[in-house]
Structures are given as structure tokens and as C-alpha cells.
């Protein structure tokens, strides 16, 4: 756990040191910490409610779902209903590779392409009456073949969240039946 925690801090430090994709923009965007009109929709999309009062069971099922997806758990705090996880995968896309080859042949230009990526997820549970709300947020960092950060983004595609919650529903069932 300690080693994972250190590793987590190392990537955050590296990211901040590169200044992300805005090294030349020293000031925080004016709306970076402001609630937006679409915040409610975003909250609904990233939240699923389960009719249970067993928060520990929901947390265990969430950890199981993340493991099913290949994530490793970086940090947990069950008293606050928190699980933090990440996974590193390739970011190579066929279209980019083809584009790189074409640019090299036609213009003799070396165009960088995405090489690897880190996905991060945090699951937060929130008990309310007879139900527990589970909220997940995903983000990713992509590095290109020059080892530069090429993308820093929140993943907000509704399909991703829908699919995660479908897997979580299955995991809650499996957990309840101790499978």
C-alpha cells in the first residue's frame, strides 16, 4: 500500500511538473472551481443508487468491479466510502500510426503519436436512508512516443458510466451471494 501511495504521488508530481498541456498558461481558468449548469446532469450520469444499507458490501463490490476491469487499488478509506484505483495501458491507435507513416513518407516529418496512458478512478459511496449512492469518476493521462503528456482529460462519455454500473450491479449480486 505504501509503495502504491508513493507511486501515486510520483505520477501526480510528474504531471504538475510538466505543467500539463498548459505550461505557458500560469493562471487557473476562471471557471475551474465553479459549478456549471451541466453539473447536475453529470452527477446523475456518474451516480447509481442501490437499495441497501450495507456500505461495506457496496465498497467490496466496487473494488471487485474495478479489479474485473483490470484496475489495481491505490488507496481506500472505508470510513469515508472511498476507493481510488488506476491502470496503465497502451494508447496506440491504428489511425495515428497510419498518419505517422503517411507524414513520414510524404513530408519526411516525424509526428508524435500516443503511446501509453494511465486511467484513474475514484469510487465514493454515500449512504442516504435505505439506499447507498455510488459515484464514480474516471480520468486519464496520455503520453506520446516522445514521453510528453498529450492528453489530460475527465472521461465523461455516458456509455462508460452505464457500462461500469452494469458491471457493478452484477458484482453487488455476486457479493451478496458470496460468489
Amino acid at each position: 500500500m505504501f509503495r502504491r501511495s508513493i507511486a501515486s504521488k510520483v505520477w501526480i508530481g510528474g504531471l504538475l511538473a510538466t505543467g500539463g498541456l498548459c505550461g505557458c498558461a500560469p493562471h487557473i481558468p476562471p471557471d475551474a472551481l465553479a459549478m456549471r449548469a451541466q453539473s447536475l446532469e453529470w452527477r446523475q450520469r456518474s451516480t447509481r443508487r442501490f437499495f441497501t444499507t450495507d456500505e461495506k458490501q457496496i465498497l467490496a463490490a466496487s473494488a471487485g468491479s474495478l479489479q474485473d476491469l483490470g484496475f489495481t487499488i491505490d488507496n481506500t478509506r472505508s470510513e469515508l466510502g472511498l476507493i481510488v484505483a488506476s491502470k496503465d495501458r497502451t494508447a496506440v491507435e491504428g489511425g495515428q500510426v497510419a498518419g505517422k507513416v503517411v507524414m513520414a513518407i510524404v513530408f519526411r516529418a516525424d509526428v508524435p503519436i500516443d503511446r501509453n496512458q494511465k486511467f484513474r478512478a475514484s469510487v465514493v459511496t454515500h449512504p442516504s436512508g435505505n439506499e447507498i449512492a455510488v459515484r464514480v469518476t474516471f480520468q486519464r493521462i496520455v503520453w506520446n512516443d516522445r514521453n510528453e503528456v498529450s492528453k489530460l482529460e475527465l472521461l465523461d462519455d455516458p456509455k462508460m458510466y452505464q457500462e461500469f454500473f452494469e458491471k457493478l450491479s452484477q458484482a453487488v449480486f455476486l457479493e451478496a451471494h458470496q460468489i
Binding site: 475551474a32 459549478m35 481510488v84 465514493v124 469518476t137 480520468q139 489530460l152
Partner: protein
């Protein structure tokens, strides 16, 4: 003096003698704003004593704002999170008791390589947190 010798001399002048080139280690204890001013900007008091609920609400608010939570600790009362949106914004929220009826919530943020010391983003964060807590965020002297 040879050409290479002149180059070395010029380099030493830049490294050692030019005041603007002072050691980057000085950044460790450097703060652009005074501690009192910073605390005033970054801290609000809330009329509640439920530390765990406040931490949970802080996590929910950070998620509303597009952050992914990095870590949290209910004993010490901290939550750290990172927002990626073509930039990297890291934030820590701490919660501690103030007297017997209030909690002090302090937030500090780092945008890229700089500390965020502008009051406006913190005001926006505490507005969002106050609404989520159904409590008014009170400025602290």
C-alpha cells in the same frame, strides 16, 4: 583567455552571481502571499460538528467539479483530489474543529507549478460546498 575558458566564466557568472539565478531550493519555503491573507482566502467556518459528513460532502463537491479523489483520511480530516481538463489542478481540503459548535474547512490548490492564491476560485469552491452542506460558509477573521 581561451574561448572555452570565457564560456565557463560566463556560465559561473550566471549560476553564482546573478541574483535572479538563485537556487531553486528556495521554492521549498516560499509563499507569495502572507500566511494570514492566505488563511483568510482559503478558510471558511461552518455551523456543524460532523467532521465525517463534512469530509464526505467535500468529496462529493470535488466530484461535482470534475475531480478524481486521490486520498482521504477521516482521522486527520483531509481529502486530496486532482482535476484533469487539459490542465492539472490539485486540491487538498482539510477539516478541523473550531470551538464546540463549528468546523473550519480549508482548501488549497496548485495549478500546474503554481499555488492558487486568487480569492475567486476558493469563493466558488466554498459556494458549491456550502450549497451541498445546506450551510452558509462563513468567512474567518
Amino acid at each position: 583567455m581561451t574561448r572555452s575558458g570565457a564560456g565557463v566564466g560566463l556560465y559561473c557568472l550566471c549560476v553564482c552571481a546573478v541574483p535572479a539565478c538563485q537556487s531553486s531550493k528556495a521554492e521549498l519555503l516560499k509563499a507569495d502571499a502572507s500566511a494570514v491573507k492566505l488563511r483568510s482566502i482559503q478558510t471558511r467556518a461552518f455551523d456543524t460538528t460532523d467532521k465525517t459528513a463534512t469530509l464526505r460532502t467535500a468529496m462529493a463537491t470535488l466530484q461535482d467539479l470534475g475531480f478524481v479523489i486521490d486520498s482521504a483520511d477521516d482521522v486527520i480530516g483531509t481529502v486530496s483530489a486532482t482535476k484533469l481538463d487539459r490542465y492539472a489542478l490539485r486540491m487538498t481540503v482539510t477539516v478541523r474543529p473550531r470551538g464546540t459548535t463549528q468546523l473550519l474547512v480549508r482548501a488549497n490548490a496548485q495549478f500546474g507549478l503554481r499555488a492558487v492564491e486568487d480569492p475567486q476560485p476558493y469563493q466558488q469552491f466554498f459556494d458549491a460546498l456550502g450549497k451541498a452542506m445546506f450551510l452558509a460558509a462563513q468567512e474567518v477573521d
